[in-house]
Amino acid sequence: MTRFLAVTRAELLILRRNRWLLVATLIMVLFALALTFAGSAPTGTLGVDMLTVSVASMTTLSVYLAPLLALMIAFDAIAGDVDRGSLALLLSYPAGRGEILLGKFTAHLAALAFAMTVGFGTAGALAAWLGGAGPDSHMALARLILTSILLGAVFLALGYLLSAVAGGSTAAAGMSAGLWLIFVVLYDLGLLGAVVMDQSGTFTRSVFPWMMVANPADAFRLWNIAATEGVAMASGMTGAAQALPAWAAPASLLLWPLLALLLARAAFQRVEP
């Protein structure tokens, strides 16, 4: 039952050798540092420490970056093997499709976790050292890293789903870009438009928060904001978070990876190499 680990090992080698790991970690560190310092101005006015403000800025960053980095690895996971003609060979081995997918997922998630931890960790440590940090803000940083990894897991699995459905690398890349745009940008714009049209009616009060939390990217945002008062203040997004029970955002962000992985597994089953 350790066959999937053989796939994991090979995938990690690939990520290290084609410099994905290095580049992704570098991107995370640079963006996290830039946001931490660009966003450190309101510390005095809000009366919170610098790490809290940094976490609030990095939460916004992660909503965009975690799905993007995850999709960048995942889109090629199945389609690339189809293009190379090596998927048929891989599937002729005793390892099942589930094991192959699990092996790839484990490797990709480990790489994402590494990039997130180093990126947010560096920026967080620097913010704490320069502007102070309390136990609350330490928790907020840990939460940010863990939820970013979960968000990455969702989009890894969705990327596999597209990779299986697309039938080729190029198509999978295009579909991944579309998926990113929908989940991270267009969904929120649509909801915003609906709220404006509704003018604080029943939709805004009862439907909107649930629709928001159904999107994993927004669930990620809500979880981080609702959990820490300081972060909520720094990001100015308290309204939506208060309208929902506390378990809603974590439940959404924990269920999404499982659901997406099941869908990806089902789609992979239908691939005829």
């Binding site: 090979a10 080698l13 690939i14 003609g85 048929a88 891989l90």
Partner: protein, 297 residues
């Protein structure tokens, strides 16, 4: 089915309206080398993918030993070399083969296998820097993992230079020698001629022939080609023996295997008028053309 490694019984597959495989029968015994011939699109690769359980077929049955295609037992016993195979360019040959060894669950001596296929010097280089022939050799190395009962090789010679082809057939003989049944899909006809025990010909999804080369030529009754070079007067020679003039000094005539000796005696009786004689038995190409055409009617 008991002693057969592979049994294919009346397998049909349609893709849309197209009949990709039409009532195909084929079986392989341990140690047998069978060439599966056919043009591009004749259904060779599809048949192989059916055997691997990678693609569905509508009717008929396939058994690998006693197992269903695609089942864990079948996959354990089967080795496969896809057509024009490629691997992830970032891995080295050694890493790629190690992955396959771990997936197959066999403790294999990876460097030894790579040496066997002539990749000893390149095993720690990235596959991205390999030539097409080297990738093919790496593909062949993974076929040798774990003593398979059945090896399915899809166009194994594509991209190989002549010397590599010699090595390839040596490896195929070695596989057959250890009891592996080998199915070689190819359209490189002349090569498989001397190297296989049996020849199966697919034409547009139909199995139009399945026999030894000798039996196939007898059945087809293809003519033997005699080329006779005249000393000075090819017209007179042609008039006497029948046949067509070719390239000035020679004439060519065709005769059935049964009439061969009689034709030779007549030519010998011409004495000094004949300088040279060349005799060509029907080649695999002719046979192939014959069986591929016959199915058309």
């Amino acid at each position: 089915m008991s002693d057969k490694v592979l049994t294919i019984h009346r397998v049909s597959k349609t893709r849309g309206k197209l009949r990709v495989l039409d009532d195909v029968d084929l079986s392989l015994s341990p140690g047998e080398r069978v060439a599966l011939l056919g043009h591009n699109g004749a259904g060779k690769s599809t048949l192989i993918k059916c055997i691997l359980g990678l693609t569905r077929f509508q009717s008929g049955a396939i058994h690998v030993g006693a197992a269903q295609p695609g089942s864990a037992a079948a996959r354990r016993d089967t080795a496969y070399l896809p057509e024009a195979v490629s691997f992830h360019p970032a891995l080295t040959g050694r890493e790629q083969l190690t992955l396959f060894a771990q997936l197959s669950g066999t403790a294999a001596d990876v460097p030894l296998l790579l040496e066997r296929v002539g990749l000893a010097d390149a095993m720690d280089r990235r596959i991205g820097a390999y030539s097409k022939g080297m990738r093919q050799r790496l593909g062949l190395a993974q076929v040798l993992l774990g003593r398979p009962k059945l090896a399915l090789l899809d166009e194994p010679t594509s991209g190989l230079d002549p010397i590599s082809r010699q090595d390839l057939y040596a490896i195929i003989d070695e596989l057959a020698g250890q009891g592996t049944a080998v199915l070689i899909a190819s359209h490189a006809l002349t090569e498989v001629e001397a190297r296989t025990d049996r020849i199966a010909i697919l034409r547009k999804g139909e199995m139009v022939a399945d026999d030894t080369l000798a039996n196939l030529s007898d059945l087809a009754g293809l003519p033997i080609r005699l080329r006779v070079r005249a000393r000075e007067n090819p017209e007179a020679l042609a008039a006497h023996l029948g046949g067509n003039r070719v390239n000035g000094a020679s004439i060519e005539l065709l005769c059935s295997p049964a009439d061969k000796m009689q034709a030779l005696r007549r030519i010998a009786a011409m004495g000094e008028a004949v300088v040279d004689l060349e005799m060509t038995p029907p080649r695999l190409e002719d046979l192939y053309r014959h069986y591929a055409k016959e199915a058309l009617q």
